[in-house]
């Protein structure tokens, strides 16, 4: 236990020190929100990996591997191909150029600049802000649960310790502190996952022995789609891979990178870093062989850790899981605060703030949002727990098509964009809430379809049909988005 505490104290102290050092470099709201567009490829790429893979992914991915076996490796492969590499190739350069041309620091700010629709900006800011807080609660809860299992620490203590450290370095150092701490956290995560995979593969007797032993338990744990089935495997892979294309805390990495050359290097680095996505699923499948009797699949990774790693390894793994949660939480905090201050307070309500006052407002807002998330996470109401299951889906359904079409189709209609957001989110929410309404149940073949799929299909149809029937944004807006000229 002393080793666990020692490693964590050193690690959390290092993160707080980074926040303190970088607080001197955050001199404006632009520095606070996007690091003054000055971040290099290694830090941008690895902080993207850290923000993408939260502790929920590591623990939850292990649980999926334990339950469904090796077919879950496809989820990790989808995360790397669609969620990371294609996102960087298709979105990266255009988002960087467009946000620079439009002087936008947030996704709602981009929507206003590109389409000239204040309603789209407010709707996107409100939905994203609300559901990112819900998402943050789930991340904080995941971290506290890990402390509980691995260190026998009371749940509330886990929430307070991780929450306070994140609040400190985020509100002090802003985006630069978030990306630099995420960079450190990504390295810790990568080391921790590689160590756990190596040691557990050694324990099980190697890859071939793993496959043979899983086959003995159930051939469905080795085949694809195996015990999961195509519907579950494909829809889950699409949600957690394509969903990233609409997540502001990941897209902000593209605004902040220094130039196109850095983006190119970053694409290769991020692909290599993101390859760890397969490891939680693989180690989950190993856990099925080594720790077959569990009360809950969520215990697969913590139990495997306790079995194959010594105290030092266990402490590193705990630091890795906490790192995954903290980097995601901090990234989300910056997005909500800059969006609330710039999109809602300044541009939405028409208030004027000096640059110094805007920076101060960002700091206060990130602190306030963090405290609210922390208080909710201490005792999450039942409704919040229900919403955490599809917060990701709602945010992605709101932003995905307006962003993608806005970058590639000049004709995209502002009105169609707004309705695509509203109806996409509405469809996703109604679909998810339907089973709890007491209305007649959906046919079994449809009931397994996730709300994200429904929301994105509805949003896609609305934006395409609406654009074909409606009017594009003004010439001036299109010219400014593409060329930067007024």
């Amino acid at each position: 236990m002393i080793i666990y505490v020692g490693v964590l104290v050193v690690y959390l102290g290092l993160l707080a020190a980074i926040g303190l050092v970088l607080s001197r470099q955050s001199k404006s709201a632009g520095d606070f929100a996007i690091g003054g567009r000055s971040v290099g490829p290694w830090v941008t790429a690895l902080s993207f990996v850290a923000a993408y893979y939260s502790s929920v992914v590591i623990i939850g991915g292990g649980a999926f591997g334990w339950k469904f076996g090796l077919s879950t490796l496809w989820v990790g492969a989808g995360n790397v191909l669609v969620g990371t590499t294609l996102a960087w190739i298709v979105l990266g350069r255009r988002i960087r150029r467009f946000t620079e041309n439009l002087d936008a620091m947030t996704l709602p700010g981009f929507f206003f600049g590109r389409y000239g629709s204040p309603q789209a900006r407010i709707f996107s800011a409100a939905v994203t802000g609300l559901f990112l807080i819900v998402y943050n609660v789930s991340v904080l809860k995941g971290m506290a649960n890990t402390f509980e299992v691995l260190m026998d620490l009371a749940y509330w203590k886990g929430v307070v310790i991780s929450g306070v450290v994140i609040l400190f370095y985020t509100s002090m150092g802003g985006y630069l502190a978030v990306v630099w701490t995420s960079f450190v956290q990504a390295i810790v995560m990568i080391c921790a996952l590689c160590l756990l995979t190596f040691m557990s593969l050694k324990k099980v007797g190697g890859m071939t022995a793993l496959v043979d032993r899983l086959n003995d338990i159930d051939p469905g744990l080795v085949n694809t789609p195996g015990v999961w089935g195509w519907a579950g495997l494909i829809s889950f892979t699409v949600i957690v891979s394509l969903g990233t294309w609409g997540m502001p805390q990941l897209l902000v990495r593209f605004y902040s990178i220094k130039n196109d050359k850095m983006l190119r290097m970053g694409t290769v680095i991020v692909t290599l870093g993101a390859s760890i996505a397969l490891l939680p699923y693989l180690t989950g499948a190993i856990a099925r062989v080594l720790v077959p009797e569990l009360e809950s699949a969520d215990q697969a990774i913590p139990s495997l850790t306790a079995l194959v790693l010594n105290d030092w390894g266990g402490a590193l793994f705990l630091a890795g899981v906490v790192a995954a949660g903290m980097s995601t939480f901090a990234g989300v905090l910056i997005i909500i605060s800059s969006s609330m201050v710039r999109d809602v307070w300044i541009n939405g309500l028409g208030r004027t703030l000096s640059p110094a006052a805007e920076l101060k407002a960002n700091r206060i807002m990130s602190m306030a949002v963090g405290v609210v998330s922390l208080l909710i996470a201490l005792r999450p109401p039942a409704l919040v727990l229900v919403l955490t299951a599809f917060a990701w889906a709602v945010i992605a359904s709101t932003n995905l098509w307006p962003l993608l079409f806005g970058l590639y189709w000049k004709r995209t209609s502002p009105r169609a964009t707004l309705w695509s957001m509203i109806l996409g989110v509405g469809a996703a929410l109604i679909w998810q809430i339907w089973p709890r309404t007491g209305l007649p149940a959906l046919p079994p073949s449809l009931a397994g379809v996730h709300g994200f799929i429904v929301g994105t299909v509805v949003g896609l149809v609305v934006i395409v049909v609406g654009t074909l029937l409606g009017k594009p944004a003004s010439e001036a807006r299109i010219r400014r988005s593409w060329t930067g000229q007024p």
Binding site: S71, V80, L81, I89, T271, L278
Partner: protein, 40 residues
């Protein structure tokens, strides 16, 4: 049967990962050459 006694349908996930890494490197090289052509 694929390596490690795995069915190809499952081993394919590793092949997709390899393909993705090659894709990222190929895109970076292509993009660099395109940038050079544009600047000349």
């Amino acid at each position: 049967m694929a390596p490690f006694h795995m069915p190809w349908s499952t081993f394919g996930a590793f092949l997709v990962l390899d393909f993705t890494i090659v894709l990222a490197i190929a895109w970076a090289l292509y993009d660099r050459s395109k940038d050079r052509e544009d600047s000349e």
